[in-house]
Symmetry: C2
Subunit: 235 residues, 2 copies
């Protein structure tokens, strides 16, 4: 473990609470405008389209498309179901950019600041660069480097994302650790030789979440949150 | 100017004093080992190979090559001239990585911290990603995003570097400003529609520098240094 030089983080779910943030952000926005909507349900429906959309890009069925555009496509499909089809272009843009305004879990800022004191810390996210940079400004996330699927024109869990991050940092795969709340992401990283750290986010999908409640492999580190991760890495 | 959302910075010369840093870093290293060398002259010779090397990549005469590798190639050519041909592989690596250990001009940290409070700030440098990330850790440069020629597989002043940074930030070219101490870099950015800020670094090439002592066009902002740039941008 002493060879690890850099930590890259999955973002949606691991760093930020997308479901709670969307419900709070759009809830406040809707309240101001007298728009009633089950925003958490919209968030769930929105997120449910994420993997199928990316799979169409991964398979080559559609050309490279950034996540902002996939989000917008899915939003257009969902607006009628939630009675929001009357929203104009500016409002639709504002809704779509809610993914740029997500908030971190409570332990994230302290954990990242401690980890940054010893390691290069970065994102390794399917979010596009603008989304990740704007989110970092919004949420005060002190990344040293922002790696995105957009950097590699490939969505996780394709190998070129994990290997691309290591290559661009001039590190061997074993000198890079992926930190994530999702066992499948970690499995794909481990298959490419990366080190792995798991921390559960048991309410990412709301109170009745059933997946990723615990580690499914003997990950190099299993932590309760980012502060515990810093502790376990000795910083 | 109020439409500018993000500032990207040329790095070598504009942010960091490569010549002075190399002389100080390798001077101290050489002194410890009893190696006498005119390190500033080596730095000048090294840097003189930079544009011709990149031109071979830009023209397609050689395939895409990151700057660390170009630096190493040039170093190998220069070692005999400076009586350093006896250095082993570890020492050659240490010398080559001096470009990761460059120090900023005195005004840089304060200026960047102020600018970061309002703008997205990033690099737009011909240095490779690992070089820029390691330099930022070494020199405490609080970038929001690291754009490198490596990101685009193209060296400045090719248009895809300036346009690529704007595109990845989801900005129009006019919403992005290049900040540089080099008139030719700014001219190439302006040709693509970027905003431009010039600040002179009159000792970048040592005490007898003759180029880039002042602005050669009516750049959008002309500042004396990064603190003055922050002042002029109202932050």
């Amino acid at each position: 473990m002493t060879q690890v030089q850099a930590l890259v983080f999955d973002v949606f779910g691991t760093v930020v609470d997308w479901r709670g943030s969307i419900a709070a952000d759009l809830g406040a926005w809707g309240a101001q405008r007298g728009i009633a909507c089950d925003w958490a349900a919209l968030a769930d429906d929105w997120r449910a389209r994420y993997q199928p959309q990316m799979q169409r890009v991964r398979s080559g069925a559609v050309p490279w498309t950034v996540l902002d555009a996939l989000h917008r496509e899915a939003l257009e499909e969902l607006l009628p179901k939630y009675g929001l089809q009357h929203l104009d272009e500016a409002d639709r843009c504002h809704l779509n950019r809610v993914w740029h305004r997500l908030n971190p879990w409570a332990d994230v800022r302290e954990g990242l600041r401690r980890l940054k004191s010893r390691y290069v810390i970065g994102t390794l996210s399917n979010g596009n660069v603008a989304l990740l940079v704007n989110m970092a400004k919004h949420a005060d996330l002190p990344w040293d480097v922002v790696f995105s699927a957009e950097t590699f024109h490939a969505y996780k869990p394709l190998p070129q994302t994990y290997l691309g991050a290591a290559h661009m940092l001039d590190l061997r795969p074993g000198e890079l650790m992926l930190c994530a709340a999702h066992n499948d992401d970690l499995a794909a990283a481990r298959a490419q030789g990366l080190r792995t750290a798991f921390m559960p986010r048991p309410t990412e999908y709301g109170p009745s979440q059933t997946k990723n409640l615990g580690p499914e492999q003997d990950w190099d580190v299993v932590a309760s949150d980012f502060v515990d991760l810093a502790q376990r890495l000795g910083v």
